[in-house]
């Protein structure tokens, strides 16, 4: 559990003059679920976009599985799966066709893609809707599940889940939450951002709290809570409030 699979070192990124990410460093070990928590605009998505090779950092380095984003994005892309915060689906295709297409792009043969698409859709509980209807006719929760299932295509070793449970009904949220637990049990390495503290508390091995482009705390949920009092009586919400003076969900 201590072998670092992802190493982020002094990451910076500005948009125009605004420093969205301002010197972020952390590591994620193999098989670990790493939580990135922070209020809106903290820089979580910007960080994930840099980790997933689509946004070049202004400064700093990212090494995943031994490959640097500076010169080896191709190798990194084979290792990662990305579930973006905004739904990124082909609205007029079925769930199955969406997975097929991304699977082919991950380099799977058509048979491999078909097999993985079916098993991933089963994994997120969408087998009966796989080929039924375009995804834009799906409910919000179902779209989220398709969004997650796509990220699993190509059997990535590292998953980036950017608020996979945001804005959906409790039932779908539960479903996704359980899916992530199953992935954890399979030993998947995951970087996870969320607004839901109890999810992060239950799922994550370690948590980084990010605010205004920097990480202000990084530890296990237990240790983070211990600083405020007995961990059984404190929740992460309190920790966050204590550190930033703000509530996480403002």
């Amino acid at each position: 559990m201590t072998e670092p699979f992802l190493v982020v070192n002094d990451l910076h990124r500005s948009f125009n003059d605004y420093k969205a990410v301002n010197g972020v460093s952390f590591t994620i070990n193999k098989g670990e679920i790493f939580g990135l928590l922070g209020p809106n605009g903290a820089g979580k998505t910007t960080t994930i976009r840099m980790l997933s090779t689509v946004l070049p950092p202004d400064r700093g380095d990212i090494v995943i599985g031994g490959y640097s984003v500076r010169n080896n994005t191709d190798s990194i892309r084979r290792l990662i799966g990305v579930c973006p915060q905004e739904l990124a689906l082909y609205a007029d295709l079925s769930a199955f066709d969406n997975l097929m297409f991304f699977g082919r792009m991950e380099g799977l043969s058509s048979q491999e893609a078909r097999a993985q698409a079916m098993s991933n859709l089963e994994f997120v509980g969408l087998t009966d809707r796989a080929k039924k209807g375009r995804v834009d006719k799906f409910s919000g929760g179902m779209k989220r599940r398709v969004n997650l299932a796509i990220a699993l295509m190509g059997n990535p070793q590292l998953l980036f889940l950017d608020e996979p449970t945001v804005g959906i009904d409790p039932q779908s949220r539960n479903n996704i939450y359980e899916t992530i637990e199953m992935l954890r049990d399979r030993g998947m390495t995951i970087l996870y951002t969320t607004h839901y503290m109890e999810e992060a508390d239950r799922l994550c091995n370690r948590i980084a709290i990010m605010d205004a482009g920097i990480i202000i705390a990084l530890d296990t949920p237990y240790n983070l809570k211990s600083k405020l009092g007995p961990p059984e009586k404190v929740n992460l919400e309190d920790v966050f409030l204590n550190m930033t003076g703000r509530s996480l969900r403002d």
Partner: protein, 398 residues
Amino acid sequence: MISGKMMRILVVALMEVRSYLRDKADLAFSILLPVAIFALMYGAFSGQDQFNGTLHLVNEDKEGIYSTRLITQLESISSLTIDYLSPSDADAKLEKSDLLMVVSIPPDFSSKIISGQTAELIFKQRGNGGQEGQVVASIVRGVAGNIDRELVIQNEVKNNLADTDISREQIQIAVASFIEQEQIAPSVSVIDEVVGEDLNPVTSFLPGIMTMFVLFAVSLTAQALVAERKKGTLERLLTTRLSVGQLFTGKFLANTSRGMVQMIILLALAQIVFRIFTPLTFLQSLVIALVFTAAVSTIGLIIGSIARTEDQASWIAVFFTMFMSIVGGTFFAIPQGSVLETISKVSLNTYANNAFRTIIMRSGTIRDISFELLVIAGVIVVGMILSRVLFQAVLKGK
């Protein structure tokens, strides 16, 4: 075996083609609209063909050698169709004004000529015989006049040589062959000279209309690219093993195929309706079409890379299309040596239209249009590189 890279390019291209096929409005726009324009052109220009008339003929001298000769010559005239009537039919139709002009060969036509009398052709007409009737009559007069002249010469020569021991048959054969020679190499001949280009409005405007319609696809390509970028699917694709180069090559292939389908439909329609191609010029036109559509598809990718919104993409594309079409001589011929001609050199359509016109109107060959093809091919190469570079630059800033 197809490599993974090629496979991804093909899957992207296929995906793009499928999305075109799903969008019924786009499909209708890119195929039905040009067909409608064609229908309009057909209506406007189809009446302006060469003269074609029908000769309504009554032949009562069925076995006669001179009537047969007259009819053979008339039948060899391509702009004349002969409609044979019985005398009673002809009279009835003239009576009812179904026909305005009938030419009649009387039963004694040949026998009168043989006996040296004046034979008559009878032109029966209602009123002035109608315009078509007048032209047909004058054609018949010309042919009859030729036969008459031949007979006059025959008789003249026969009379002059009557005292010699040359047989009348020999004289006849010699004179006939002389007249035949004269027809092949006449002393006074008429040369049909086409000044400048073929002025057929169909062939001169067809290239412009075709290129303009293919160019409309720029807007669709650009909008689709922006839409995908905004939806986030493009960024997501780039976290897979698909590279920007592969993505653009796939889209390029799909757009070029769509343009080619459009072009093939237009060219085939042009051929069916207007018959303006030979098999060779058709093939050559396909080559121009392929190069042009490929260039157009890279331009769509460039606009899609730099536009921020779909609306912006479609406005840039519309402006671009109209500018290229107007300056490229789609709606009017660009006067040679004018300022406009200089400006027209910046339009891709100018080169495509010139190439098409060279092939269709001046029966040129691929060699004659190699300059135009090279210019357009240059646009493809520059467009492929530029669209990629611009796309990546924009992506990195976001």
